[in-house]
Amino acid sequence: CTSIIAEDKTGKLYHARNLDFGLFLGWDVQNSSWYTTEKLKPLMVSLDFQKNNKTVFKSANFAGYVGMVSGVKQGMFTLTMNERFSLDGGYIGVFEWLIGKRDGWWMSFLTRAVLENSTSYEDAKDKLANTKLLAPAYFILGGNKPDEGCIITRSRTSALNIKNLDAKNNDWFVVETNYDPWKSPLIIDDRRHPAMNCLNKTGQEKITLSGLYNVLSTKPILNKLTVSTTLLEVSEGHIETYLRDCPDPCSPW
């Protein structure tokens, strides 16, 4: 996955993500695509969660998956999560759960609970950073005020790092793929630097949701694993999602 939060010159925040899934789960030689990735595309739906006929939050998700991987709560925050690979992974958390140690949260249930119940950027940030999890993850959280944007790098037990937007010091965007922000990405899977390069080329004065869509349409940020691109804007509570394809030549991840 690739998630980006960017702040324009007026302090308005834009959030976007490519949802990539299906690595090593079967390569379709005939169609030059990942088998699972292609089968997930028809499952993507846009969801409007309502109480008393009023929207609580909106999300783009797989039908039948009750947790959340992307969502927006109008006027408060936007949230995406990216997969974090670790040897201290979710299988340990699942094993602990099975033997009765159930004090952690399933990742996507936590994001759903945050989208449903949190009432501010700070509250969401606190819950995402400090709630014990069954699996490591990256949470990319945007608010509704200048500099309210961060990447929360989570182990199963704690927040290892929180990288914040800091537009005054020229950090007007944050980019997260599937690597810890303080480490270099794997050399054969570097989507971070191409994304940063394209964001810098676009410039803070011109950044909009359409600019982020351009960045997320650039290979290898767009790749054979990309299921969809979601654009989120907090002040209007806006979300739009498009299914993607990556015709050859295209990076397999």
């Binding site: 699972t36 846009s46 969801l47 009750v66 996507s108 570097d190 869509y213 290898p220």
Partner: protein
């Protein structure tokens, strides 16, 4: 270290929005999830419409597990145990998952696995 240029990399794209061209594969349908309904009824409309696609993905996940375990009997017995796992999941997620399994007429264990695959695959 010498860093080779990514053979698939390209110049930054422009004018891709509104989405168009060969990288755009369509929009997605919209649904309302009514949180005032009992959890078991919230996803009925969505998963009824997507029943066939959902069953395809669930079968893929089962096939992946079979690839690693190579023992259908063991996987079948795991399936019933994972069905039990649903009762340990927090409310309302457990009830929503039961409602989904009942709507698409799939084993509960299969729908549970679909909903927890993130935790399983993060290794």
């Amino acid at each position: 270290a010498v860093r080779a240029r990514d053979p698939f990399a390209e110049d930054c794209r422009e004018h891709e929005y509104p989405p168009n061209g060969p990288t755009y594969k369509g929009t997605i349908p919209e649904y309302v999830i009514n949180l005032d309904l009992p959890p078991s009824e919230r996803w009925v409309q969505v998963v009824r419409d997507k029943k066939d696609d959902l069953k395809v993905v669930i079968k893929i996940i089962k096939d992946i597990i079979l690839t690693f375990i190579h023992n259908e009997k063991f996987v079948a017995s795991m399936e019933s145990k994972i069905g039990w796992l649903c009762s340990t999941l927090p409310y309302p997620f457990n009830e929503e998952i039961k409602g989904i399994a009942s709507t698409i007429d799939a084993p509960l264990g299969d729908v549970v696995v679909f909903n927890i695959f993130y935790e399983i695959f993060t290794v």
